[in-house]
């Protein structure tokens, strides 16, 4: 397979570009998008590469259409992706819920910018965390990844596709304008060395007839492919295992929604990913993720030099959330600080996790600039 960019070596590229290349290497062959700062570069890279790898890149009339086209493509068996930023992400909420309900694997990239509304189009923010997790209506669970570097944007894009296919669910890659527009050196692996997961498809016509039955006991039903004779019927209404709308039966709604939630929540261990720095003997823990965590690492190093035993928990996945791990940390430290580029979102998750075992304080930052290490140090000191 020939790629329209160099592989098996490092390259100096933007985060947005890295996401596009990683998607193609992960096997993505369908992209639908709508121009929006600071995510347009992902689309532009896809527009350049997709025709060359026999994939599709199409500009839709709006973000409602982009995500809809991506879901449609996914049902033909394609790995598919769209990318946007806050205003477009808001428009996508409707069909993100449709993807959850119909258990459609797909990747949505939200390159966060300052909000609400049109806000600060060219500047970074982390204000969409709760929207990514809870933005679509109704009970559900979803997977949200938060890269902090261009390399992580690359690696986590591949992981996002793998998780989407493995758990038959939409996955949100929640990055920001800073990571998206920053250029860094990225190691692009040899395509043969990349782990690629593909969705389970029905082993028989009978299995295909029940696209929502948990045949394997792992909560993830095999997914039919349109055009291959399964004659699957897929609806956003509450449905039974056959796919038949059942809109008033409480037990059918409950078993469907609980399975959709459980396939994520019960596989937390497999999905959750985090890194720690100097956390084992720390008196003070800093929790951070995405671009803000890079300043937090520096802050920890400086604080340690000053003799303050600080440590960092850097979250690579903000949902599902490991509340128990936060409680274990809270039992060991005096205080937990949450550094994030908003007025408190993951802060609330950490506070719930800490369960009163340690004080939890927020180090917020809005306006478009990333925390400086000093912003964090001065609060902790």
């Amino acid at each position: 397979m020939r790629y329209p960019f160099s592989v098996g070596r490092s390259d100096f590229i933007q985060g947005d570009e890295a996401i596009a290349r990683a998607a193609i290497l992960a096997g993505c062959r369908f992209y639908a998008g709508y121009p929006i700062t600071p995510a347009s570069e992902i689309f532009e890279a896809m527009a350049l590469y997709m025709p060359l790898v026999d994939g599709v890149s199409i500009q839709m009339e709006d973000e409602l259409g982009s995500i809809a086209a991506v879901i449609g493509a996914s049902w033909t068996g394609a790995k598919a992706m769209t990318a946007t930023s806050g205003p477009g992400f808001s428009l996508m909420m409707e069909n993100l819920g449709y993807a959850v309900m119909t258990e459609t694997p797909m990747v949505v990239v939200d390159v966060q910018r300052g909000g609400p509304s049109t806000g600060q189009p060219t500047l970074a923010a982390q204000g969409d965390v709760m929207q990514a997790i809870w933005g679509t209506h109704g009970d559900h669970s979803i997977i949200v990844l938060t890269p902090a570097t261009v390399q992580e944007a690359f690696d986590m894009t591949i992981r996002a596709f793998n998780l989407a296919e493995k758990y038959r669910t939409p996955v949100v890659l929640l990055t920001d304008g800073e990571v998206g527009h920053m250029r860094e050196r990225v190691n692009i692996p040899d395509p043969d060395e990349i782990e690629r997961i593909y969705r389970k498809i029905p082993k028989s016509k009978e299995q295909g007839k029940y696209p929502f039955r948990d045949w394997d006991g792992d909560g993830v039903p095999p997914m039919p492919v349109f055009g291959r004779g399964y004659r699957a019927y897929i609806t956003g209404l509450t449905h039974d295992e056959r796919g038949k709308p059942k809109t008033v039966e409480a037990e059918i709604h409950e078993s469907l929604i609980r399975r959709i939630v459980d396939k994520i929540e019960k596989n937390k261990k497999d999905i959750i990913d985090y890194e720690t720095f100097d956390l084992d003997d720390a008196d003070v823990a800093i929790v951070s993720y995405g671009i803000a965590s890079r300043s937090a690492i520096r802050a920890v190093k400086i604080l340690r030099k000053e003799g303050i035993k600080a440590g960092l928990l850097k979250l690579n996945v903000v949902w599902p959330f490991d509340f128990e791990m936060i409680e274990r940390i809270a039992e060991r430290v005096n205080r937990i600080y949450v550094a994030e580029m908003n007025l408190g979102q993951v802060y609330h998750l950490v506070k719930e996790g800490a369960n009163g075992k340690a004080e939890v304080e927020l180090i917020p930052k809005i306006g478009g600039e990333v925390h400086t290490p000093k912003d964090i140090i001065e609060r902790v000191r």
């Binding site: 259409g65 049902w75 033909t76 068996g77 055009g227 209404l237 038949k244 709308p245």
Partner: protein
């Protein structure tokens, strides 16, 4: 026109385990569904190469009753989903079953852009001038003066002519009939299904329960008689003045042309890209 027995069509194309349908007595959707299934039968299409896509509304429940792959999506977005299906696998034939509210109000933007792109799908559109499923609110297609629960004193807005909109946006094939014109309707569906690029067949379809009841037409026959009164064939309409056409709905075949479809254009685009990048030998 030779017609196969209804039992044969039913047994071959309906999912019996999904029946009964949720359609009310006197509803026209079943008739239009029958026209569509008979057309597919006459064309000899294989069920496994056709995907049915729909949005939200009474007519959008149709993909659940037919034995094909089906995607019942969100309100107004059927054509955006269909874009993904068709472009990711151009070998699939895509039929979109939609209502007038779904297509011309909440889905208006997807509708005009799918047509502009000349997406290779066939839209079968049920126009009953109302939102039937939610209980009879006025639709953007409702003629002036018609009553709905959200315009109880008579619609004061101008109606959309969906077929003319499709012609203007660039569709390859557009026709409109009432469910009463079943011979013309079936011929149009057959033409539309075979047409590469965007095709639309619009049907004036009775909704006695949500619409007729509020407009002094409580039964389907009354609505059909009303359609006969308000519809004018294109040839006759050409000789009529704008004043005479006030409150009328023109029926017939509005356009039949062969502009290249989106997937054909994209194939050429891929070739161009490879050539420009020096990927072709």
């Amino acid at each position: 026109m030779y017609l196969e027995s209804s039992y044969k069509i039913r047994d071959k194309y309906l999912r019996t385990d999904m029946l009964p349908t949720m359609f009310c007595p006197g509803c026209g959707i079943g008739s239009v569904l029958q026209f569509t299934l008979r057309s597919i039968e006459e064309l000899g299409w294989k069920q496994d190469e056709v995907v049915w896509v729909s949005g939200i509304g009474c007519s959008s429940r149709v993909p659940g009753y037919v034995n094909f792959d089906g995607l019942h999506t969100t309100h107004g977005r059927a054509l955006a989903f269909a874009t993904g299906i068709k472009m990711a696998n151009p070998d699939l034939k895509v039929v979109v079953f939609a209502g007038d509210g779904d297509m011309s109000a909440i889905g208006g933007n997807h509708f005009i852009h799918a047509i502009r792109r000349n997406l290779d799908v066939t839209v079968i559109l049920i126009n009953n001038f109302t939102y039937g499923m939610t209980g009879g609110q006025v639709a953007p297609t409702a003629l002036k003066g018609l009553k709905g629960t959200t315009a109880p004193y008579g619609n004061f807005e101008n109606p959309f002519d969906i077929s003319q909109l499709a012609v203007a946006a660039g569709a390859n094939y557009v026709a409109r009939w009432s469910v009463f014109n079943y011979v013309q309707g079936m011929n149009s569906i057959k033409k539309a299904l075979q047409k590469k690029g965007f095709s639309l067949v619009e049907f004036l379809s009775p909704c006695p329960v949500s619409f007729g009841r509020r407009n002094r037409m409580k039964t389907a026959p009354e609505l059909i008689r009303w359609y006969q009164k308000i519809t004018v064939p294109i040839s006759k309409a050409k000789k009529m003045s704008p004043e005479e056409l006030e409150g009328k709905v023109i029926i017939g075949e509005f356009v039949d042309r062969d502009r290249p479809s989106l997937d054909e254009e994209y194939e050429r685009y891929k070739e161009r890209a490879k050539k420009l990048m020096g990927w072709e030998e």
